[in-house]
Symmetry: C2
Subunit: 185 residues, 2 copies
Amino acid sequence: MPSNPTRRETLTDAGLRVLAAHGARHLTHRATDREAGVPLGTTVNYFSTRTALLAGLGHRIFERLAPAPAEVPPPGTAPAAAYIHAIVRRTTEQPDLTLALFELRLEAARHPELARALTSTLERSYAQDVTFHSQAGLPGGAREVALLHYAVDGLLLDLLTVSINGRHDTAEMVELLVRRLLPPT
Amino acid sequence: MPSNPTRRETLTDAGLRVLAAHGARHLTHRATDREAGVPLGTTVNYFSTRTALLAGLGHRIFERLAPAPAEVPPPGTAPAAAYIHAIVRRTTEQPDLTLALFELRLEAARHPELARALTSTLERSYAQDVTFHSQAGLPGGAREVALLHYAVDGLLLDLLTVSINGRHDTAEMVELLVRRLLPPT
């Protein structure tokens, strides 16, 4: 398998644009080649099956959503709300990534092989979040990270697709979720 | 437009099975006819466009997720956690409905006309939840209903697709979400 990392990023970024703009039904090796502007057959050289391609997109989403080093607050000083605000900002500024992740999760519900690959990506990311949470001295632990994760996923679904209530007060909602879901310090 | 309500339910239920099992890409009038076991052309008689069909599916999801009258606790006596447990049980027992709703919301992110129809369905359902919440004497109001909605949507995504953490302790998670997101009585 070829291993040019830059080319790999070009291809997965193109695949994510296809996935977000047109849905899983249009995500093929050829559509990815076309979107990336590379010769037909390039994507299949890097990802031999559709499942491998979808799993690669899942992996790439988390690479791109990872905060830049400067954005990670030093341990012990991060107010939890600012941290979650930053996550919501980062994800809503790149709506394609989050929409593509929702698409991948639904596709995984129908495809056990993709489910295995995506589960391992999600579990790794969750473990990193738990480590970060603890190193940053935020109140609560793994359980609270899961609660926040559910709530933020649901909020993002509301912000990026259709809203249950006209999306009023996103900042206030984030504030409340953090204040209530984390135990008092 | 024909208006046989039973036939309409047969068709939308068939469409929801297609949507959950195969994703939005396979949801067509013909696939719905086949799944429902009715003559080709029946679905298009009831839903003249693909958007009308998808909007009809969204409407049907909420009809089917509505609690049976016996399940609605009498005002003032419902512990909030039992109510949310019942929602999670009702939705996870019918995973097709919730998966189909996620598919519809993602499809709506790409199709403004579907977004308008689905928004009106979601907003109506949210307004009913707010009314129920208040009539049942549960603590908090519209804001708390939204917070719970986000968190439960994210939890269901985790339960029905791929999980961030192996889905341990769903009952405990529900308990915690309710206890923390609703203000103390």
